[in-house]
Structure formats: C-alpha cells, structure tokens
Symmetry: C2
Subunit: 167 residues, 2 copies
Amino acid sequence: MTISMYAASVPVFKRQLGALGKILDKAAAHAAARKIADSVLLQTRLYPDMFPLARQVQIAADFAKSTPARLAGVEFPKYEDNETTLAELKARIDRTLAYVDTFKPAQFEGSEEREITLPIAGNPLTLKGEVFLLHFAMPNFYFHNTTAYGILRLCGVELGKRDFIGL
Amino acid sequence: MTISMYAASVPVFKRQLGALGKILDKAAAHAAARKIADSVLLQTRLYPDMFPLARQVQIAADFAKSTPARLAGVEFPKYEDNETTLAELKARIDRTLAYVDTFKPAQFEGSEEREITLPIAGNPLTLKGEVFLLHFAMPNFYFHNTTAYGILRLCGVELGKRDFIGL
C-alpha cells in the first residue's frame, strides 16, 4: 500500500513540466500568428497583485528543481530569472527537466522522514519530507502551473485540460 | 522511502478542500460587503469556454470524493450539481469532507497496483492506482481547485497563496 517518495515527486514534475513546455509552444504559435509580442504574454496577470506569466512559470519550474533536491539532501542550482521570451521560458523548463532527470530513486531513501527547513516569508519552517512534499511543494507547484495555464487562456491561447494533464 | 496511498490522497484532499471552503467564506464576505449577488461569482469564468466558479468547485470536490473511493474499490455517492449560492457550495465541500473523512488507511492496501477504469470523454481508460492518483486525479483536483481561486481573484476577492495552501 505504499509508493516511493521518488515516484510521488520526480515523474510528476517531469510530466507536468513537460506539459507546460508544450503549452508554451502553443502560446508562442498563438502570439506569432497574431503578431502579439511575447512580452505581452509574459507580463499578463490574472489580477494586479498576482505574479505575471513569466514568474508563474519560473516558480513552477523552481519547485520542480528544488523539491527533489531538498528531499535528496543535495544543493540545487540557482537559475537567473531573466527570461524575456516564450522560447526562453521554454528553455528554462527544458533545463529544469534535464536537472530533474538526474535524480535516482535511491537518493530518496528515508526522505519521507527527513527534516526539511525552508525560508517562508523570512522565517524558517521545518517540515518532515512527506509533509513537505504532499502539503507544501505539490500544492505550490500545481498552483503556479495552473495559474500559468489560466493566464494563457485569458490571453486567448487555445488550450484544453488535456494539455495541462499531459496524460 | 515510501509513503502510503492513503497519506498521498485523503489528508491532501482534506487540507486542500478545507482551504477552499475557507476561501469561499472570504468570497461570501466580499460579495456581501459589496452587495454582489452570489450568482455573479458562481457564473464567472476565466474564459468563455472554461467552466464557471460553481463547476470548478464541484469538480474539485468530486475528485476528492471519487479518488479515495476508486482507490479503495467502493461506490461513491453522487451529489447533484445544483448549488446556486456560495453557502451551498461551501456545504457541498463540507459534505464531501465528511465523506472523505470516513476512509481508513487499511482500505488503501494494495491500491497502488489496483487497476482503475475511468470513463474519459466517453472512452474507458484503465490506469494502475499509483498512476491514477499521481498523474490523473491529483493534477485534475489541483487544476480545478486553483482555477476556482483564480476566478475569485479575478472577482477581486482578497486572497493570498497561504489561503490556497492551507498550511
């Protein structure tokens, strides 16, 4: 009745980020066909005090990068948040996918019990690996991933839930 | 290095749906203060061919109801989709939470290997329990949950990601 911490993280990030990459390809085709500058899409927000598309994609990708690393207890690379085009955002995803792909199941041994300390709004929060993954990292990852999708729908990009699920 | 199928499903649905219920309370306070009819919020969509708020909440709640049931191999109750107010949507969530709360960890024994057949767009799709949970049910649940949040932000309801995460 159990699943591995690896199975509950790495393949999920790979599938969902891969799907987001294809969504960005559709967004790029949409923008090109209508002569909309990429910067317009990258700066669109659902609401003024929410992050724009570019930041939503960066944060989703960063959760996919940092979560397996924190579970495995290894340092993760820091990527600059300097993308200005959809192609660059897609490249950010591809680079992240290549990194996530380096993790091996054995690195997650005991990670459900590992204490993980995060900086949350300037204060350290310590969670057990299982709680960190299921109740913090995954909700955050899906939040930013889905919000990126929602922004692109608001911009008129033709997408369906199948594009999001990637199954 | 493993977590139970129960831990990866029931407590996640409970926390996230509980958070969505509190979000609906904030939406109700927002609407009441501004004399906005609940029906306006319930019918708001991010884009014309997407579902409105009411349906997003219903679908999120239905994934929380049907997913543990499918994993445990039991029938799940069907709820009518007839909510017309935020309080009724909140009650839908509360009823769903009470149902989800009835599941016991032992019912998920072997569920990661159980073959689960779903009707997808009129065609049956069979997935192993682990794939069903991690790559189908959870992405769908989070998709509708986050989209409900996004619609309420678009309506001006003051929410932060902490409201969504519920941690």
